[in-house]
């Protein structure tokens, strides 16, 4: 990666995300100006009271209602984007994402379980238990998939994908059964399964921000190894890359990233699949550039989607639906254009 590509892509994209954050905070039931948003944020960060000339209600709305949700959408999108890029690189498959290995489905099962417990009278505070169970479900699923795939000792992408698809299929059936048990309350499960950032708080940000930072840095640290792993294990190993060890550690790291993101937002599909994919069309497959870009592009996509559903659309549409509706057609256009240029699809 040259300095030129950093300035050509990374800085503009990061700046766009920052601008989008500020602009998104002005949108909503209570209109405020960009300068007010910046002033309130600056005050919040430096620990001072918001400037006196700004309506205190607006200041509270910006600082404690909109901002956590906006930042959560950027962080969740970024986490999903980076994990998607890494999943695709380690599984040597441009169609892989957190669903391929059943991680997201495991999280969905965990969350559905709590919601069904609820219906059967076990009163657990859902705001705490749903994230914990979703996280636990994702981690347990990863453990099972790794156990199933570890038979060949090389942890090949084929065994991993096969194990993931089997486990995901079983979990999907189990979720179907839980929905059936939930009967009239099924809406609660369905809503969680389609994702929402409406409940995001500063506590969530305190959890997501370090996870996003550490996870992305780990992925960047291994990005050159990831490039080389695209030449196959044999060549990669002969170049001194510990392919199996890196695959295992990155699998654990990215699964934890996905699990954390999903435990806050519910299931948001498509971001992990489409963001790295689109970026590969635009800047090529070099993971040293792709991984950091996937963070900002994922964050931007989810922020736009969440802002639309929060402030622009007349009623809140589940964000998972919006990401697919926004990203899908864009992806189709890229896909067709690339075929017309005579290039192979991936």
């Amino acid at each position: 990666m040259t300095r030129r590509t950093v300035t050509a892509w990374l800085l503009p994209l990061a700046a766009t995300v920052a601008a989008a954050v500020a602009f998104s905070a002005t949108l909503g039931f209570l209109p405020v100006s960009v300068t007010d948003v910046v002033a309130v944020l600056f005050a919040k960060i430096s620990g001072q009271a918001p400037p006196a000339d700004i309506d205190p209600v607006a200041a509270t709305v910006i600082a404690d209602v909109r901002m956590p949700r906006i930042l959560a959408s950027v962080l969740v999108g970024g986490l999903l984007g980076v994990s998607g890029a890494v999943f695709q690189a380690i599984l040597l498959n441009p169609l892989a994402d957190s669903y391929t290995l059943g991680i997201s489905t495991g999280a969905a099962f965990g969350a559905s379980l709590v919601i069904v417990f609820q219906i059967f009278g076990l009163s657990l505070p859902t705001s705490v238990t749903v994230p914990i169970f979703a996280f636990g479900g994702a981690v347990a699923t990863l453990a099972v998939v790794l156990f199933l795939a570890s038979g060949d000792r090389r942890l090949s992408s084929t065994s991993l994908i096969l194990a993931g698809v089997i486990v995901a299929a079983i979990l999907s059936a189990a979720i179907g059964f839980l929905k059936f048990l939930a009967d009239e309350q099924v809406g609660l499960i369905v809503f969680w399964l389609m994702g929402s950032l409406a409940g995001a708080s500063w506590a969530n940000i305190a959890l997501l921000a370090p996870a996003a930072l550490i996870g992305t840095l780990v992925a960047i640290y291994y990005s050159r190894d990831l490039n080389i792993m695209a030449t196959g294990d044999r060549t990669a190993t002969s170049l001194g890359v510990h392919a199996v060890r890196i695959r295992l550690s990155l699998l654990v790291v990215t699964s934890l990233m996905t699990a954390l993101a999903v435990s806050v937002s519910g299931i948001i599909g498509f971001v992990g699949l489409i963001v790295p994919h689109m970026l590969r069309h635009l800047v090529g497959p070099d993971n040293r550039l792709l991984v950091p870009l996937a963070f900002f592009a994922g964050g931007l996509l989810l922020l736009v989607a969440d802002t639309l559903t929060r402030a622009v659309l007349p009623t809140e549409v589940p964000i998972g639906v919006l990401t697919a509706l926004l990203g899908g057609p864009f992806f189709c256009i890229l896909f067709k254009r690339r075929q017309r240029n005579g290039a192979t699809a991936f």
Partner: protein
């Protein structure tokens, strides 16, 4: 076509003692004892499934034997770190597949990996090495093309370029020219042979084509059913008797003044 280097030390490159290897319960190599000496292009030959590629993987440290010991440059192979080995050994696999659309140049640059610090970019000298390698392997014109768009033969030349960019002391070829037409095969083998003479690049090559092997290798090792059938200087071991016992074909070996090497003609045994 060449005399081995007059290396005074003539020390052993690899030394294999009582090597056994199996995939699960399927034995592949039995009691292999071999000395691979410094200063030769060594060819490993034998029928399909005789364990040639496995033997190469063992030499490269990509697999560990079930029993027996391998030493490389006098030191047990398992004591070498992957990174140390990667600075000395480069492998050209038979089917070089890259899963994402990296450009040819990016792929060749991957050869620098064991020599570069994790976050370092290639230096000017490195860039010049890459340019020279692209030129030498005849793929300079393809440098900016995604490797996924190349033909099999072009990809194979990229694989060779990538291995050369690794600046190894030893080049391991796993049927590296099997997918190339005769012109490109000869070009690649000549290039490697030149590196052998000029830069003392050691070569161990698994090969299928006996005539190319005869022209390219100073020493040959014949494997059959996971055992070493015979080994020695090409002129001594490339005989009708060896070929018949290894491949079960009748052969005639003659010295060709045209290629300045021994050449083999074959036919199926009459009785079959």
């Amino acid at each position: 076509m060449a005399q081995p280097h007059s290396d005074r030390r003539h020390r052993s490159l690899w030394s294999l003692t009582d090597i056994n290897f199996s995939y699960g319960d399927q034995p592949v190599l039995h009691n292999i004892n071999l000395e691979l000496e410094h200063g030769y292009c060594t060819g490993i030959l034998g029928p399909n499934g005789c364990g040639k590629t496995t033997l190469l993987d063992l030499l490269a440290g990509l697999r560990t034997p079930d029993s027996g010991s391998i030493s490389f440059q006098g030191q047990p192979l398992h004591l070498w770190s992957k990174k140390q080995l990667a600075r000395l050994l480069a492998l050209v696999p038979q089917d070089f597949m890259v899963r994402f659309g990296f450009t040819v140049r990016e792929v060749v640059e991957m050869g620098l990996h064991p020599h570069l610090h994790r976050f370092a970019s290639p230096s000017r000298t490195d860039q010049m090495l890459i340019d020279a390698t692209l030129q030498a392997t005849g793929i300079a014109a393809l440098a900016d093309r995604p490797i996924t768009q190349l033909s099999g033969g072009e990809k194979q030349r990229v694989a060779v370029a990538r291995a050369l960019a690794q600046q190894p002391a030893v080049l391991l070829l796993d049927e590296a020219t099997s997918n190339l037409d005769i012109h490109h095969s000869l070009e690649i083998l000549h290039l490697i042979r030149n590196r052998f003479h000029q830069k003392r690049l050691q070569v161990v090559a698994v090969m299928h084509d006996l005539n190319l092997a005869s022209f390219f290798c100073d020493r040959l090792i014949f494997l059959k059913d996971g055992r070493v059938v015979c080994q020695g200087a090409t002129g001594d071991v490339l005989t009708p008797a060896t070929i018949e016992s290894v491949y079960n074909v009748e052969a005639e070996v003659s010295t060709s003044t045209f290629t300045n090497s021994r050449q083999v003609s074959f036919r199926l045994p009459r009785s079959s």
